[in-house]
């Protein structure tokens, strides 16, 4: 089974869970008029669809790829793996750590086969407008991810590694309310850039980001 097939399978399972959420065995009261006592850990994992990740903030990479006969618009849509551990500190705030592995680009050109992969390690904050509990996942809010992006730009089998910061603000929508297992869908935008990542020029990364996570509140 290829990695893409495996990732697609996970995405389908996530979508199915989102469409048919598990029934609640234990409904935890929300914050309305009650004291909130549902602090705890949330584990989230899933898929991240990234559109236009390679050069939405500049055209240095596009131009360079073009003169070297690579596809100038690579990686228009990629599926990436995301894992998070969060802690619900109050009805409106969840804080945690975020990790992702992104295989962004894989193509051939005059300079040889090229691939671009990134790994993200950082923090995530989830701010919920209505306030909620770990298990009542039907909320709307904002996500802010940020941290360090490890970038490996490999051409013709030779790696060029860089480290850069990234931020990703997003709108988020929870699904599967009341159960231990829920889903979260978020739409965001990634900002990241490797200075001088293309010899003399910058390597811009980022773009529209669609993330679907399965959330488990044990």
């Amino acid at each position: 089974m290829t990695l893409k097939t495996a990732l697609s399978t996970v995405l389908l399972v996530a979508v199915a869970l989102a469409a048919f959420p598990a029934q609640s065995q234990e409904v935890v009261a929300g914050p309305q008029g009650r004291s909130w006592d549902d602090r705890g850990v949330i584990i989230a994992f899933g898929m991240e669809g990234v559109w236009g990740t390679v050069h939405p903030h500049g055209y240095d990479l596009k131009d360079t790829l073009e003169v070297y006969d690579f596809d100038p618009y690579p990686g228009l849509f990629n599926l990436n793996v995301v894992a998070e551990v969060l802690f619900a500190v109050n009805p409106h705030v969840e804080l945690g750590v975020h990790g992702a592995y992104n295989g962004l680009l894989d193509m051939d050109g005059a300079a040889g086969p090229a691939s671009l992969t990134t790994q993200e390690i950082g923090g995530v904050a989830r701010l919920l407008l209505g306030g909620s509990s770990r298990r009542a996942h039907g909320e709307v809010g904002f996500r802010f991810e940020g941290g360090v992006m490890l970038v490996d730009f490999e051409v013709d089998g030779i790696s060029d590694n860089h480290t850069t910061g990234f931020v990703r603000p997003a709108l988020t929508l929870g699904g599967g309310g009341g159960s231990d297992v829920g889903t979260e869908l978020s739409f965001g935008w990634t900002f990241a850039q490797v200075d001088r990542g293309l010899g003399r020029a910058a390597l811009p990364l980022g773009g529209l980001d669609l993330t679907l996570l399965i959330r488990i509140a044990p």
């Binding site: 240095d60 360079t64 003169v67 070297y68 005059a110 051409v155 013709d156 089998g157 030779i158 003399r200």
Partner: protein, 161 residues
Amino acid sequence: MTQRWISCALALGTLLIAAGCDCQLEDVDTVIEDFESCGNIPLCGWTATDPSGARLTTTFHPSEHGLELQPGVAATFPTSIRTEEIHVVSDCRTGIILHLDGRPFRMVATSQGSQPFYRLAVVVSRGGDDVGSLGIENMSGRTCVIDDVRSIDDVCLEDDL
């Protein structure tokens, strides 16, 4: 007897015309030099007018190499090609002069605007010229990197029919 010769000549002519019709002209893109796999060969086999003004360097990635020329320096490479157009990649948009068997041609960027690297091109002949020596001269006034030297030529490819 004469009639037979005429018939034979007509038949042969028809065959030649038919053979000509089976031929499709297509642009063939040939890499003359990409400055990779040079081993220990100094300047990848190129000869510079000033050896201290030329060196191999990396371009947009550690795996990708080119020939760096100081202002006013030219480098030549022995070759044996038939070509209509020569293309190179360079970080200099203007001031790159191509020399084919001593004849100079000013290379022109195929795109506008500021870029890290440009594709430069020049049409050297309609119908193709045989070339024995290819040279590149840096008249830009600043240091330039040259990479991915290619020849474009129309080649007669036979139909599969």
